[in-house]
């Protein structure tokens, strides 16, 4: 595990909304299964005193932290309020913030991430599915049934594509240490570089699958930054230039971030790049043969 474990107490912002309520249920079902603490408090301004699946709801993050030992949070609030939630949590002293919310204006994210950095806390996302360390902790919306415990870390800019890859790995008998969805927006808190740094210090993680997309060059920066063995897959090779493919982050940027040149640069660094998700398990096996 790299961002939390069984002992981590989680706070959920936007606890009384449809999404928040649904996923508090799922996160705590997972916590129960692995013997973890899970979600211990919720926050929705104006709804203090309520309960969601037996979890007490508070008006502010600081109030929740007075009553509970909390070090991580998951944010489900609407886009217009999400940056404020990030800053409230950073200010209250939460160490790891997972922002699930999509469609946050990028200038809001930029300010919130800069502020969180000043407060010394790390932000995962926004526009991400969160993270899951099998057998330890689930923070976010990943479908736990697909995961299995093991030694491979996964970092991804995508949501469902991550599940696809995790499903492939699990079916092939390759378990995961921690799977982190870092989000698909142009500005995200934790990048490949940041997560790889954590994996490098995690004795459980022996290799990493890096799932990228068209846009930017964060994948290459990540690959360059680490000594861990890596397998990569980049989505968007068929993306036409200048077409937006759902994620703002997937904008094809003047040739630099397009999938083909990204793949070429990764291969040049010696990183094996799968041409489709179903090839990943075999490539991971080959890595283990070469490195372990």
């Amino acid at each position: 595990m790299i961002y939390g474990d069984k002992k981590t107490g989680i706070l959920v912002q936007g606890a009384t909304g449809k999404q928040g309520e649904f996923h508090i249920g799922l996160m705590n079902a997972y916590a129960k299964q692995v013997g973890g603490r899970g979600v211990v408090a919720g926050v929705t301004p104006g709804k203090g005193g309520k309960e969601v699946h037996g979890v007490p709801v508070y008006n502010t993050v600081k109030e929740a932290m007075q009553d509970h030992d909390i070090s991580a949070s998951v944010i489900f609030v609407p886009a217009s309020a999400a940056a404020d939630s990030i800053m409230e949590e950073a200010n209250a002293g939460i160490q790891t913030i997972v922002a699930i919310t999509e469609h946050i204006p990028v200038h809001d994210t930029m300010k919130a991430v800069a502020y969180a950095k000043m407060e010394g806390c790390c932000v995962i996302g926004p526009n991400c599915p969160g993270l899951l360390s099998p057998g330890e902790i689930k923070m976010g919306i990943m479908p736990a049934g697909l995961f299995s415990h093991g030694n491979v870390g996964v970092i991804s800019r995508s949501g469902t594509l991550t599940y696809e890859v995790v499903d492939e790995l699990t079916r092939s008998g390759i378990g995961q240490s921690t799977v982190v969805g870092i989000g698909g927006d142009p500005v995200i808190g934790q990048t490949f570089v940041d997560v790889l740094e954590r994996f490098a210090q995690d004795p459980q993680t022996k290799a990493v699958v890096l799932i990228g997309e068209v846009g930017g060059n964060l994948e290459e920066e990540g690959a360059k930054s680490t000594d861990l063995p890596i397998v990569s897959y980049i989505a968007g090779i068929s993306a036409p230039p200048d077409k937006r493919m759902g994620h703002a982050g997937a904008i094809v940027e003047g040739g630099e971030g397009d999938a083909r040149s990204k793949i070429a640069r990764l291969k040049k660094m010696g990183v094996p790049v799968a041409s489709r998700p179903s090839e990943i398990p075999q490539m991971v096996r080959d890595l283990f043969k070469d490195h372990c």
């Binding site: 469902t160 594509l161 696809e164 997309e213 068209v214 994620h247 998700p277």
Partner: protein, 361 residues
């Protein structure tokens, strides 16, 4: 969403960045009343959203005598396939030097990136490649409303001091207008002072509402229809319609089509937790594209309920063949419903895509 040149220039002007005197006209006849201010040397600029507009014949030099005739001519033209509906008639500047200035978001540092070079103009991209050292860069702190003076001094070097204040004004525009890009190229010096001769502003699609825009003009009609349902949708030109959940998985499905030698007709991401009615709209929308021969549905996830998806596919009642890969909650129920109606279902994305490529061929 990209603003038109005249809109971008209005934003600059309001913020105190000098722009040439100009008028927007929608027909050649509208030019006459402005000839007095425009003088004897002005420029007619087609307001079309294409790059390389000048080289494609979208910018004409005009004078008092031939202005109306040239405007009529330009309104009759197509610039890279786009009709000219609006022209910006602008005073011609007596240019001494061209600079380049832009603000974007730097993904690595997660902060605004300022680029400035004394070698601006139409060949900026060649400059960037051949003389990257000529482009000065600075990273701004998004929590500060102004760029510190030292940073401005470092950026402008020996360029006129006025440009420093223009950089700061553009930075404020960038922050206040939720811009993904704010660019002035060229930024020019003239005997009368410094002017933004051309300007480009791209507003974050996620901030259009608070910036006062009701529609995203960059979208086609079908894309707008998709947006109403909360789908992200992109039109391509093949025969295989693609519906997935999540941008990454849907994009990966497109890539797989190419891998197996097929061509995708479009890309539709239904998003998370799709209910039957949304799935129905998605299938109908993709089915409404004339070139679509077969549709691949690739849905995977914890919160997507497969019985809802199956209901939606069946309710859409489209003539094209629909090939389905479903995994998630209530998978067995969903599969049973589709099987009863004779839909083809396969277990992996490789298999559905392979099959669709065969059907489309």
């Amino acid at each position: 969403m990209k603003l038109r040149e005249y809109e971008a220039k209005n934003v600059l002007k309001e913020a105190g960045i000098p722009v040439p005197a100009g008028f927007l006209i929608r027909s050649a006849e509208e030019l006459a009343p402005h000839l007095g201010v425009l003088g004897d040397a002005f420029v007619l600029k087609a307001q079309v959203d294409v790059g390389g507009r000048g080289k494609a014949g979208g910018i004409l030099m005009a004078g008092k005598a031939d202005g109306t005739k040239l405007a009529k001519d330009l309104f009759g033209r197509q610039i890279k396939g786009l009709p000219v509906k609006e022209i910006l008639a602008e005073q011609r500047l007596d240019i001494l030097h061209e600079y380049y200035l832009s603000l974007t978001i730097d993904r690595s540092s997660k902060q605004p990136l300022i680029l400035f070079t004394e070698a601006g103009g139409v060949d900026i991209e060649i400059t960037a490649k051949e003389h990257p050292e000529a482009i000065r860069k600075a990273i701004a702190n998004p929590l500060m409303r102004d760029i510190p003076p030292f940073m401005l001094r470092e950026l402008i070097g020996t360029a006129p001091k006025e440009i420093g204040s223009i950089i700061n004004k553009l930075y404020r525009i960038f922050l206040e207008k939720d811009a993904l890009l704010a660019e002035i190229n060229p930024l020019v010096t003239t005997p009368q002072g410094v002017y933004a001769a051309d300007a480009k502003l791209i507003v974050d699609d996620n901030a259009l509402g608070r910036q006062g825009f009701t529609v995203n003009r960059d979208l086609t009609e079908r894309e707008r229809e998709a947006e109403k349902h909360g789908f992200s949708y992109v039109e391509l030109n093949g025969a295989i319609g693609v519906i997935g959940n999540g941008a990454g998985l849907t994009m990966s499905t497109l890539d797989l089509i190419e891998f197996y030698g097929g061509k995708a007709a479009n890309f539709l991401d239904v998003g998370g937790g799709a209910e039957s009615e949304r799935v129905m709209h998605a299938v109908r929308l993709v089915g409404s594209v004339p070139s679509v021969k077969v549709i691949v549905v690739n849905l995977l996830g914890g919160i997507t309920k497969c019985d809802e998806v199956a209901k939606g596919i069946i309710a859409a009642e489209i003539p094209q063949k629909v090939i389905v890969r479903l995994a998630g909650t209530n998978e067995a129920e969903g599969r049973a419903m589709l099987a009863e109606k004779g839909y083809e279902m396969l277990d992996t994305m490789d298999l559905v895509v392979k099959k669709a490529v065969e059907v489309a061929a």
